[in-house]
Amino acid sequence: MIRLLGFRLLQAVMVAILIGALTFLLMSLLPGDAAYRIAAGRYGYDMVNSAAAEAVRAELALDQPVMWRFVAWIGDLLTLDLGNSLVTGRPVIDMVAHELGSSVRLAVGAVLLSFLIGPPLGIIAGLRPGGWLDRLLLLISTATRAIPHFVLGIILVLIFAVSLALLPSAGHGSFAHTILPTVTLALGLAAVSSRVARDATVAVASSAYFAFGRLKGLSAFKVFMRHGLRNIGVPVVTYLGVQLVYLIEGVVVVETLFAWPGIGHGLVHAIVQRDVPMVQGAALAMGLMFVLLNTCVDLANHLIDPRRRDA
């Protein structure tokens, strides 16, 4: 238990250093003169001259030697001083905290919705393996998994926003705006969790303890509620850990597609605008979030399944 938490802590530190090194490399290896680009971002492309660029260069210490800047960079990072955004001038940590909130709302909504869609369908299909619902579900889930997030999102936008004009295609604010991004993420997650639930149900329903439950006179409903549901739940919850990667990657793409003001959207925009502190902050937030969520899954497994504690 302690070992596990210690390992995850080490992983978090490694994530921080890896992202720090990559973003530093990004900072120093970018083609072109960053000072001009940043000045253009701040004052507009028409207002840039060499004086403005030099002012930016001096202000952001872009003229120091590389090694010195790298040491200072990692030092700042480890003291969680993420600096100010090069474009807006606001503290990165505030912007990241703000964006993280929207992203978490989106992700939590997607996971909850996927739990409403996936496992119930999977369980119904698994109770009659080989039935028409089982086959149909296999077909749909295979097809859904073969569609990348952004394509799925585009298809939903083209159907519900452009053709039917029922929902807004992008933006943020009202409940209607949250529907399409949440559904896009949730469908991808549900495609997998329905299959996991289906396979678990087939395994449980053909097990000896399930048959014995029927044999000793429990009704089909009761034996399912008592012995089935819990055992189906374990692999479904466990598999959520595997799906975390899918969720985090999905957040980047889906937020960009729907102009959702979250961390993934922020990261992509920062990369396009070369706002290196913001890239670092956003990537760091996502990486640490990933480690944290993995820790939570570990802990949940630890609590749900006592058999694993010895391993």
Binding site: F7, Q11, A12, M14, V15, L18, I19, L22, T23, L25, L26, L29, L30, P31, T142, A143, R145, A146, I147, P148, H149, F150, V151, I154, I155, L158, V162, V192, R195, V196, V242, L244, V245, I248, E249, V252, V253, T256, L257, L267, V268, I271, V272, V279, A283, M286, G287, F290, V291
Partner: protein
């Protein structure tokens, strides 16, 4: 009961059929990508101003995009790019992944710990995030894209190879071979490879699918390859504003990317091992 089991065993595996379908789709996509430039020598950047966003017709069998470029030639080029890049990165990732996995299982101890830690370091970041950061450093570079994808993919090979090799190397059969004086190469060829081969195939297919999705996703968020390169994600982004005028044209890259990923997933089988 026994009869039921015997009948169930005798029935053809659904896995085999779906794998066959996957291979068939992939083979036709490869054939499409390779044959089109041979028989349809239209440049992917050539603009036909008389046919902007035209529907499939004689001069342009799959229509044209918003700049009047031939969709048939562009789709073939995009499939070549996606499949080629995925194939090369999967192959590049497999070699160090498998070798390091065998090395870790063979040596054990410190080597195993260090290599395991290295893999965990990469696993701590979601793959797409790592690719996004590396590609951001070298925007528009194929080499960076390929290197980043390979860097993400090797871990899966390493972990699988290490886990499998560990059990195989501890088996009495390998102990007997060692006692008879056979060297490492013989043991790898004779004992490890038959165990690994089928699993590696699955990992490779999954890896290729995720590589193709990552490349397309980067193209879509305008961080990956740059226009005028024909790339599926980029083509979808470019054609999105013209959906109302030409819904068929944007449906083409969507269909192609769906078919590629579907075929690879069918080849790989149900889920990640």
């Amino acid at each position: 009961m026994n009869l039921d089991i015997a009948i169930a065993d005798a029935a053809p595996q659904p896995r085999a059929t779906s794998r066959l379908i996957g291979v068939a789709i992939l083979a036709s996509l490869i054939a499409f990508a390779v044959c089109v430039p041979l028989f349809w020598g239209v440049d992917i950047a050539r603009q036909d101003y008389n046919a902007i966003l035209s529907v499939p017709a004689g001069a342009h069998p799959l229509g044209t995009d918003h700049l009047g470029r031939d969709m048939l030639a562009r789709l073939a080029a995009a499939v070549r790019l996606s499949l080629g890049l995925a194939l090369v990165s999967v192959a590049t990732a497999a070699i160090p992944g498998v070798l390091l996995g065998i090395l870790a299982a063979w040596k054990g101890g410190m080597t195993d710990k260090c290599l395991g830690l290295l893999a965990e370091m990469f696993l701590a970041l979601p793959g797409l995030l790592l690719v996004l950061l590396i590609v951001a450093i070298y925007p528009g570079s194929f080499l960076a894209l390929y290197g980043a994808v390979a860097l993400v993919l090797w871990i899966e090979y390493f972990r699988m190879t290490r886990a499998l090799s560990r059990t195989v190397l501890a088996s009495p059969a390998v102990a007997a071979s060692r006692l008879l004086g056979f060297g490492p190469l013989y043991i790898i060829r004779r004992h490890l490879w038959p165990e690994l081969a089928s699993v590696l195939m699955t990992i490779a297919a999954f890896g290729a699918a995720s590589a193709i999705m990552a490349i397309a996703a980067l193209g879509f968020v305008s961080v990956g390859v740059r226009p005028p390169t024909a790339e599926l994600g980029l083509m979808i982004t470019e054609l999105l504003p013209y959906f109302a005028e030409a819904p068929v044209i944007i449906a083409l890259p969507i269909l192609v990317i769906f078919l590629i990923v579907l075929s690879l997933m069918l080849i790989a089988g149900e889920r990640k091992p």
